[in-house]
Amino acid sequence: MTSFPHKHLLGIETLSAEDLTTILDLGERFGEIASRPIKKVPTLRGKTVINLFLEPSTRTRTSFEIAAKRLSADAVNISGSTSSTVKGETLLDTAQNLDAMGPDIVVIRHGQAGAAAMLAKHIRASVVNAGDGAHEHPTQALLDCSTIRAHKGTIAGLTVAICGDITHSRVARSDIHALSKLGATVRVAGPRTLLPVGIEALGATAFHRIEPALEGADVIIMLRIQKERFGTPLFPNTREYSRYFGLNARRLELARPDAIVMHPGPINRGVELDPAIADGPRAVILDQVARGVAIRMAVLYLLGGGAPDPL
């Protein structure tokens, strides 16, 4: 029997390794549905999922929408520009109004850390965090783990290098939590200005140059510079950034010969990632996207009952 004793998915930090494995195992099963002639199962028929995206997103919002629809739930999408937040309504008011319409799950992306957790305290629906500021992006970490497990067989014992703008990356935080809970060694690398002090407390080893982080790595996760999250420049220019921290063929050779290259998207081609690598045989970036749908189906399925199993 599958048990998942949580009403919400707010972050990876509060989940156990067993919870993560439950979602990953289910994700593998749900992946098969995409290959069926009718890519839909009736499981969440009659359930309503609201995707409340108050920050730009293509991949994650579409992925959640497809996941909900493949499970036969009704999906309603609200994005920043169409919501009443532009008329001055607070997030809490928006959420409580939506909650009054009786959704079963609210998926929220918001620029402020803790937005999902705040919502979870005040509404009846289950809340899924689809990215809150620079805090967490749990379903991205889960789909990253799913991709790694599919290509490497297991996660325990692997060395994973996460490179780029660590400071502003919720993906990095969720990845570090998930990968270390599942037994991987995690390295983070970036310029001092983009590497938060004390990141080691999460269980990662920090490097101020990319080369030592790549040395012998099984998995490389490249991150985008999140310029929208900082005002004053934190490095001279993108050309120089690329010269010191971009992943190119020469640097890729430092990693294990069978290392895979991942990126949560969107990619800034030629900045953090050489286009030849992004399109090359080592990149599994589109596989990540495909697995995202299955992982989100697993999450919606587990939360879709509205409450944990009363056992």
Binding site: M1, T2, R29, R36, P42, T43, G305, D309
Partner: protein, 193 residues
């Protein structure tokens, strides 16, 4: 409507044996012969689809027996998992493990035989038929069950049955299979008083 929660194993006592090892072997053999006779000579090979988990094991055994009978084409073997098609997914029951659905050949135009271990309310069969519908359009779908314990809640009837038993609602029928590391037998159990 409250969900039917199977009582935990510890609360059940065995009341009588419905089939022993030899009895189960005989019942399966007879079922295989009946299937060959009824649908074995209609067009393509029989497409056996077991319902996970018990029915899938029995489908493998029936396929072997049909193959051994020699006078029909080698049956196609598939399995379906109905967890995502249940009508009680969110009624507070623990969620079952989801097994793979494996239908190696298209269902269109085929003679499909759904195989289940115990036929009870008919809700499992209803869900299995929904799964089949999402994969294709069989020419005909038949139902084979090792045990028919009655008490149907939907208008569903089996075509081939190993053994029929009258049961009370509080009783439970358990099929033990060597594939799960047990000795082949079927027992009727009831809740400890």
């Amino acid at each position: 409507m409250s969900p039917r929660r199977p009582p935990p194993d510890a609360d059940l006592i065995e009341r009588r044996e419905i089939l022993d090892e030899a009895g189960m072997a005989r019942a399966l053999k007879r079922m295989a012969y009946e299937l060959v006779e009824r649908v074995g000579h209609e067009g393509d090979a029989i497409y056996l689809v077991g319902i996970r988990t018990g029915g899938a094991h029995l489908a493998v055994r029936l396929a072997d027996l049909i193959r051994a009978s020699g006078d029909v084409p080698k049956p196609t073997l598939g399995a379906v998992d109905i967890s995502l098609y249940r009508d009680d997914v969110f009624r507070g029951l623990p969620k079952p493990e989801i097994g793979p659905t494996d239908l190696p050949e298209p269902l269109d135009g085929r003679t499909v035989v759904l195989v289940d271990d115990v036929l009870f309310t008919g809700r499992t069969i209803r869900a299995a038929m929904d799964v089949l519908g999402d994969y294709g359009r069989p020419r005909v779908v038949k139902l084979a069950a090792l045990v028919d314990r009655g008490r149907r809640e939907l208008p569903i009837q089996p075509d081939v049955v190993g053994v029929t038993v009258q049961t009370a609602a509080a009783e439970s029928v358990r099929v033990m299979l060597k594939e799960r590391g047990e000795t082949d037998r079927v027992v009727l159990r009831e809740r400890r008083a």
